[in-house]
Amino acid sequence: MTTNSVNYIEPTTEELSEGVRLRRRKRAINFAIDVFLIVVSILMLLPLVFLVANAFKTPAEMLSWPPTIIPRDPTIANFSAVLGETPLLRWIGNSIAFAVMSTIAIVATSAIAGYIFGKFRFRTLNILFALFLATAIVPFEVYMIPLYFQAKSLGILNSVWGLLLGYLVMSFGIFLIRQNVIHSIPDELLEAARIDGAGEFWIFLHIVLPLLRGALGALAVLAFFQAWTAFAWPMIVATTRTSYTIEVGLALFQTGFTVDLGRLSAASATVLIPSILLFVILRRNFVQGVASTGLKE
């Protein structure tokens, strides 16, 4: 093969047909891989597809085999029943308020701390950063019981503030922003601004923040979904029916006596569809953020 490319010998017909054969083989392999990946993708989505389909089914159709993906006579009775029985919209509202506030808090603290840790090299700061990193591996479940008592003594149980208490800072967020600051904000730029007489706070606001827009966007999406899907903490902090987040509300609703699968599916679908849409829209941001979690080393 190497000699061919050097000496430009005309390929013989056998070589040509060999090339055609190889190309065909390659195409067949690629086709097989595509089929396999499509099957895997569909299998991964199937439980969710069925859930949404079940939400629109009548109780009779629910029992039919094989299960239908498109309901024969779709009904919204399940949805109206759920909305009548539970404060579902209230729960969704609680979740949104909690997730938005948590996102703002995490983005703000990570932006400031990430910038300071990335660009200001003082010994005190190094020690503090090591402290932030060291606690990053401690799972939330380990310290949530003392935190619960802190929320209790602050008198913020059963409120969105109590939920927020557990989700104010994110070690990984600080780390992510610090990496970005180091890689994408040149020291010269900051020095030039300082020589021009800009104050430190002005520099942060008008130079650093705009340059971090991409990274902060990715972090915001991560933080929002983290709060939106939180379970254990809301479970212990929000214990009154009006303060539930949607996750807790659904989890407790499904233990009720009179609940059938159609209504459960309807409630679940109400939550699922917007969050999937949101994810598909923000996919790039999200993937960028999650992918960077794997690059810690």
């Binding site: 094989p66 910038y115 939330f140 989890a251 499904q254 006596f257």
Partner: protein, 295 residues
């Protein structure tokens, strides 16, 4: 002078974040460690220091040991199911990066990782349902007797493993794809010139070179496996109201001890056990990485 001004700015800017961090992270972590050494019950007035008595009691507590065993099985079950599948799927998606479908594959496999836990668990609950679920219907179609998936002690653990793996897979695939993208192309070209087939270069090149990523994903998967709670909660509580046969997991046992039995100190000692497990896993990861660096 200038340096001093910058130092003051840095400290002032970091202070609010640091204060929040200390209050919601450092203090409760320290408090967990402290409480684990006390007989700290909500109901009793005096809360004496008891040293390691809580931990000694844990060693003989059947509910706790049951939870520990279940949680360990779940964590390792998810690991064994997820890692090989993720590696293969990521390799295939990477191979087809240029095809128009690549975005669809990535999204489809990743969606289970981002959707809320409870609705997703609900979908699986229906699949596993003994009377209505399609799984049993499928089994009986092939002449295999139907199983009561969510009530049998062994099968219900398997159900949790399947649910957790379904969710963990997307994350692992994504990290692996990033890993594949960072591998040097020249090495694969050299292997191809030497006559290596696709599967051969996957086995002899990709797997060894992705070892740090495999270690990282494994530890993340294991740690989240040890923190499993929502999945067990939803799958195990049955639709008829009675909390069915619960699959005991560590977090569940911990919360029960703290909020149902009011034994906060005892629950804290369970949290410390969880922390030790997570620390040990992380240390193993780091030491294996360092060994690799030396070799």
């Amino acid at each position: 002078m200038l340096k001093r001004k910058r130092w003051i700015f840095a400290i002032l800017a970091i202070l609010p974040t640091l204060a929040v961090f200390a209050y919601v992270r450092l203090y409760p972590i320290a408090d967990t460690l402290r409480l684990s050494l006390f007989k700290w019950d909500i109901l009793s007035k005096n809360k004496p220091f008891v040293g390691l008595a809580n931990f000694r009691e844990l060693m003989g507590d059947h509910l706790f040991l049951d939870a520990l065993v279940n949680t360990t099985i779940i964590a390792f079950g998810v690991l064994i199911l997820t890692i090989p599948m993720a590696l293969i799927i990521a390799a295939l998606i990477f191979h087809r990066t240029r095809s128009r479908m690549a975005g669809f594959y990535e999204t489809a496999i990743f969606i289970p990782h981002v959707v809320s836990l409870v609705p997703a668990a609900m979908a699986w609950k229906w699949i596993f349902d003994a009377r209505l679920g399609p799984l049993n219907a499928l089994l009986t179609f092939f002449g295999i007797p139907a199983q009561s998936w969510l009530f049998d002690p062994v099968l219900s653990v398997i159900c949790i493993i399947v649910l957790c793996s379904w969710q963990a897979l997307g994350y692992a695939v994504l990290i692996y794809i990033v890993g594949f993208k960072n591998l040097p192309v020249s090495l694969y070209e050299a292997a191809k010139l030497d006559g290596a087939s696709g599967p051969q270069s996957f086995w002899y090149l990709s797997i060894p070179m992705l070892k740090p990523i495999t270690l990282y994903v494994s530890v993340v998967t294991l740690v989240s496996g040890f923190n499993v709670y929502a999945q067990a909660f939803v799958l195990a509580s049955d639709a008829q109201g009675a909390p069915g046969r619960q699959v005991r997991v560590l977090v569940l046992d911990m919360l029960e001890n703290s909020f149902r039995n009011y034994r906060v100190g005892y629950a804290a000692s369970e949290a410390v056990v969880l922390l030790v497990i997570v620390l040990a896993l992380t240390l193993i990861q780091f030491s294996m990485l360092r060994e690799r660096g030396k070799a």
